[in-house]
Symmetry: C2
Subunit: 353 residues, 2 copies
């Protein structure tokens, strides 16, 4: 299934079922008002949503069906009770550390200059992100100043149902209900000071955006092996390819391993979103999914980072296509804007189309 949330006059939008080819959609008002409500009662809702999805794929006509415009869609979960983001691809963490050490004023002896330690090779990095207000896939990204070092991070995320405390790795994948794409917007120049404090990211991890729809694992066919998603994540900035690393390659900590880490001392509630961290491949020819890592590669190659961070007006595109070239999640297409027109969370209602 492909599920999304149409903007309306509520904060959580209206749960929608979207046809596989994205040509038609319908509000699932007769099943659950919101995606969170469906996740809260998944065993009841999922088969009913599946019936509606099957109907959508038969190309029906009638007043309940409309052509979806993803500018009128929220993130699949417009807000969530938990957003955990990991650093599942160690090659990203290694390059990011190197970039911070050189860019962020790190010196010998500075803890943020360290190489990846043995501990970090055995246990994933993971932080709790803010989940009270996500951006939709086509929403602009409001930032106060370009001096913050505005960066994107292309990731994969899973949405979980209730995960018991202390879940075992071999049981963890059963709790993955949906997958989606992420743009984890990061203010790079605020990262070193927050890292040094040790308390995680409050100011440097600002907005997070998700793909127009979230999809059930069965939509992914052989590309999803229960642990990793074996498709390239394609990232463009202003129309130029930044990278297309395969999300299934070089994922040091796969999703079941990340779930085990998150649930070690507490259960996870239905609707928890868990991010893979920036997708990254060891082969630099695959390109990369964030600018910090591109700058790190430039420094490794020639000693000087030349790619600037994002400016107002820059456009980001994050997309994933299956083996036949069809978009799986719909594209994230966002513009960086100076803060102003979206300073608060309360959004205007949108027509159902």
């Amino acid at each position: 299934m492909k599920l999304g949330s149409l903007k309306n006059d509520t904060r959580d939008g209206a749960l929608c079922v979207v046809a596989r080819d994205f040509k038609i959609a319908t509000i699932a008002y007769d099943i659950a008002p919101t995606l969170q409500a469906a996740l809260d009662d998944w065993d009841y809702c999922a088969p009913r949503l599946q019936d509606l999805y099957d109907a959508a794929n038969r190309g029906p006509e009638g007043s309940r069906w409309f052509e979806p415009d993803f500018a009128t869609f929220h993130a699949p979960l417009p807000r969530a009770y938990q957003w955990l983001d990991a650093s599942g691809y160690l090659v990203h963490a290694e390059r990011a550390r190197r970039a911070r050490g050189a860019d962020g004023g790190g010196k010998e002896g500075d803890p943020r200059f360290h190489e990846i330690s043995k501990e970090l090779r055995e246990e994933p990095l993971m932080y709790q992100g803010d989940s009270d207000a996500f951006l939709g896939a086509r929403d602009p990204i409001p930032v106060e100043s370009e001096d913050a070092g505005i960066d994107l991070e292309g990731e994969i995320a899973v949405i979980l149902d209730d995960v018991p405390m202390g879940v075992k790795r071999e049981k963890a994948a059963e709790h993955i209900r949906l997958l989606m794409l992420v743009n984890d917007v990061t203010l790079r120049n605020l990262v070193p000071a927050e890292l040094a404090k040790g308390f995680g990211f409050v100011q440097s991890k600002t907005w997070t955006a998700f793909s127009p729809v979230a999809v059930t694992p069965d939509e992914l066919g052989a590309a999803w092996d229960g642990r990793k998603l074996h498709l390239p994540l394609v990232v463009h900035v202003n129309g130029a390819l930044l990278g297309q690393p395969n999300a299934g390659a070089d994922m040091t900590f796969d999703f079941p391993r990340l779930i085990v880490h998150a649930a070690k001392t507490r259960p996870l509630g239905a609707g928890t979103i868990l991010g893979s961290g920036t997708v990254s491949n060891k082969d630099p020819k695959a390109g990369i999914c964030c600018i910090a890592e591109k700058r790190a590669l430039e420094m490794i190659a020639g000693g000087q980072a030349t790619t600037p961070f994002l400016k107002f007006g820059d456009r980001i595109e994050i997309e994933m296509r299956d083996a036949e070239g069809h978009s799986v999640f719909g594209a994230i297409e966002q513009e960086v804007v100076r803060i102003g027109h979206r300073a608060t969370l309360v959004e205007p209602a949108a027509d159902a189309g």
Copy 2:
């Protein structure tokens, strides 16, 4: 007003209005189904809830009123879209660092052994906590092993409405809708490794519990000055007084300052919970609100920490009384238990009483 959430067959419970003297309560089904729903539409709901609260305080009779048993109450927000916890009382951070340095194997040159730096005196420490499943005030605290170093942390928290990005300090207090007490359960022996990673607390900050009710600022009278709550926070463990520091004294970063920090690069959604950090006074005679700090004081006084962390069966009580001796929020009364009977989030329904 005093507002709480009665356990029922939903994850968010039923919004209740509780009389000032805690003798009667009613489900506010005619106004909003849940506290989050009321916060989402506060301008509409607040005056209607106030009318119901005024009615409750007149001691009415009738079938809608019941005698509240706080064992059947969730946290006021059983789950939230954001839980930010700060370290507003620097004296706690100083003592906690000293305790970690001595207890946690910190050595000279280890970053966690550092004294409070100039930066930390000017900018609050704050982390994003997990908010997908809070404990009610009388719920047991399930932990896997006593070896984790189980500790309580007594705090004050505010619940906010929508806060615009970049809010100014003089406007920040206007966004405080409710206050409540917190027990921020911490697994001390897991803290040093997570701090060293810099990504904040995923495993070491396990359960968080809140007082039975949250109260509007007007309930606090002169004890609330718009920035700090000037009443002692009284903490007992197994009936013995651990401390009763005044939450209005020695709060280095007051609530408006904490809100400014949290909202610097993004807005905050209605229902965001923001914690003060462990309440602590410079005068050690006031006692303390967490065991780590007591151990630090013991080390400062005599070189040896003698108070053990919590064991299974230990009972915690956190309470705040006004100048007349009346409980303001109801008491947090919890027992530490070995994990088993509450391994998942889905709870049985409770009768309305």
